[in-house]
C-alpha cells in the first residue's frame, strides 16, 4: 500500500468536510477497498473512515419502507432486516462471516461491482439511495461497471427499500470468489414485478424487462417458459461464457419466483 492517513469523523458533516480535501476517499468496511489498496491500484492521500458515524448505521421500518443506514454492515442487515426477508437472506450470504462483520451496504452500492449482490436488490426494489445531499432512485443510480450517479465526495447515508409482497434472491456462485456468477433478485409489488440481474453483464446490474412483463402478468415460473435472456453484452470469462450466463439468468429467475415469499 502507498502511504495515507486515516481519519475517523463522528458525523456525516465532518466526513463530507474531510472528503472535500485533495485525494480523500471514503472508507466503509474496507472489504473491497483494502484489497485494492494492497495491489496498489489506488493511492488516496486520506481515507475518511465512516465506521465511527453512528447516524448512518442501523435498520428501521417506517410503514412499508425499510430504511438501512449506509454504514450498516451486512451482518446487521442479515440480523435486523426481518421485515424484508429476501434482503436479509441476501446479506446473510455475502462473502463470509468476517466480511459481513465489516462490509457495508453503502460501500457495496458505491462500489457497484458487476458481481455484487446488493445492487440487484436495490434495483429490483427500486430503492432510493440517500446521500448526504440528495435522494437517487435506483433506476438512475447504477450507471455501468463500477460506475454510479454518486459525485466525488458524496456519501451514501442510507437506502430506502419499499417492502415487496414477495421477493427472493438466487445467487449462483462463481466457484473461486464466491461472488455471484449470476444472481437474480425478483421482487413483486402491487404495481408489478421487477427482476434485477447481477454478475452477468459487462455493464453491471440490469433489469430483465421481458421477464418483468411476463411475471407481472402471471407471477409463476411457468410464465418464464417461453423467454430467453439475451447473451449480448454478457460477461465471457474463465468461469462461464455469455451463453451460459444467459441460460443461468433464466434458471435463477425461475427459482427466485418459485421461492419468493
Amino acid at each position: 500500500m502507498y502511504a495515507f492517513d486515516v481519519t475517523r469523523p463522528k458525523t456525516v458533516a465532518d466526513a463530507v468536510a474531510a472528503l472535500a480535501g485533495e485525494d480523500a476517499q471514503a472508507l466503509g468496511g474496507g472489504q473491497t477497498l483494502i484489497p485494492t489498496l494492497k495491489q496498489r491500484l489506488a493511492s488516496p492521500a486520506v481515507l475518511v473512515s465512516l465506521s465511527a458515524i453512528d447516524e448512518i448505521k442501523g435498520v428501521c421500518q417506517d410503514g412499508n419502507v425499510l430504511s438501512i443506514g449506509g454504514g450498516t454492515t451486512h451482518a446487521t442487515v442479515a440480523a435486523e432486516a426481518g421485515a424484508y426477508p429476501a434482503l436479509a437472506a441476501l446479506a446473510a450470504n455475502i462473502g463470509d462471516p468476517a466480511v459481513r462483520s465489516r462490509g457495508t451496504i453503502g460501500g457495496s452500492l458505491a462500489n457497484n461491482d458487476p458481481s455484487a449482490c446488493y445492487p440487484s436488490a436495490a434495483l429490483a426494489s427500486n430503492a432510493t439511495i440517500v446521500t448526504n445531499n440528495r435522494e437517487i432512485a435506483a433506476d438512475d443510480y447504477f450507471q455501468g461497471l463500477f460506475t454510479t450517479a454518486l459525485n466525488e465526495g458524496e456519501i451514501i447515508t442510507g437506502v430506502k427499500f419499499p417492502i415487496p409482497q414477495a421477493a427472493n434472491y438466487q445467487k449462483f456462485v462463481q466457484p473461486a470468489s464466491r461472488f455471484s456468477l449470476v444472481g437474480v433478485f425478483v421482487a413483486k409489488y402491487a404495481d408489478g414485478v421487477r427482476v434485477a440481474v447481477t454478475g452477468a453483464s459487462e455493464n453491471g446490474v440490469f433489469r430483465w424487462s421481458e421477464a418483468e412483463a411476463a411475471l407481472s402478468a402471471s407471477f409463476s415460473a411457468a410464465a418464464l417458459e417461453g423467454l430467453t435472456a439475451s447473451a449480448d453484452g454478457l460477461i465471457n470469462d474463465l468461469h462461464g461464457d455469455a451463453e451460459y450466463r444467459a441460460h443461468l439468468i433464466k434458471v435463477m429467475t425461475k427459482r427466485a419466483v418459485a421461492a419468493a415469499k
Binding site: A3, V6, R8, I34, K38, S49, G95, D96, A98, V99
Partner: protein
C-alpha cells in the same frame, strides 16, 4: 504516525502506527503476537481471523487505527485461565482438526465465533460458517467434526473413524 491503544486478549496495549498499518501487522510486528497468520492478499483465506469487539473479522482487512479503543481477541488468548486448552482447542487436538497448523488460529477464532451465536450448529451450518477460512491440509473433515464435538454433539457416528 498515530498513537493507538486497544485491549488485546484482556491486556491494554498502545503503539504508534501509520494509517496503512493493518491490524494484523500491528499484532504480528508491534505486539509480536505471531499466532495470527497471513495467507493471502485478497481477503479470502481467513488465516488472519481475530475478534474485534466480539465480532469475527479478518485482521488483514482492517486498519489498526480502526481498532483504536477496541477489544481485540486473538488465538493467543483462547486458552482457559489456568493455561489449559479451551474446549474448542482440545476438540481440535482430540479429533485431529489440524495438520500444518497454519490455518488453525483462524479456524479457532472463526469456530469460537460460531459457537457463541449457535451453540449446537449442524454440519451444514459449520461448513457455511467456514466459507472464509481455507485449509489446504485437512480436507475439513476433522475440523467440522471437532467443532461438532466441541459443541457437545456425538461425533462417533460420523463416516469412518
Amino acid at each position: 504516525m498515530t498513537k493507538i491503544s486497544m485491549t488485546v486478549n484482556g491486556r491494554q496495549v498502545t503503539g504508534d502506527v501509520e494509517g496503512r498499518t493493518l491490524l494484523v501487522d500491528f499484532l504480528r510486528e508491534n505486539l509480536r503476537l505471531t499466532g495470527t497468520h497471513v495467507g493471502c492478499d485478497t481477503s479470502q483465506c481467513g488465516a488472519c481471523t481475530v475478534h474485534v469487539n466480539g465480532l469475527q473479522v479478518k485482521s488483514c482487512t482492517m486498519f489498526a487505527v480502526e481498532a483504536d479503543g477496541a477489544e481485540v481477541g486473538t488465538v493467543e488468548g483462547q486458552q482457559n485461565a489456568d493455561g489449559s486448552l479451551s474446549t474448542l482447542q482440545a476438540a481440535f487436538q482430540e479429533h485431529h482438526g489440524l495438520q500444518c497448523g497454519f490455518c488453525t488460529p483462524g479456524m479457532i477464532m472463526a469456530a469460537s465465533s460460531l459457537l457463541k451465536v449457535n451453540p449446537k450448529p449442524t454440519e451444514a451450518e459449520i461448513r457455511h460458517h467456514l466459507e472464509g477460512n481455507i485449509c489446504r491440509c485437512t480436507g475439513y473433515h476433522n475440523i467440522v467434526k471437532a467443532i461438532m464435538a466441541a459443541s457437545g454433539q456425538d461425533v462417533s457416528k460420523i463416516a469412518a473413524e
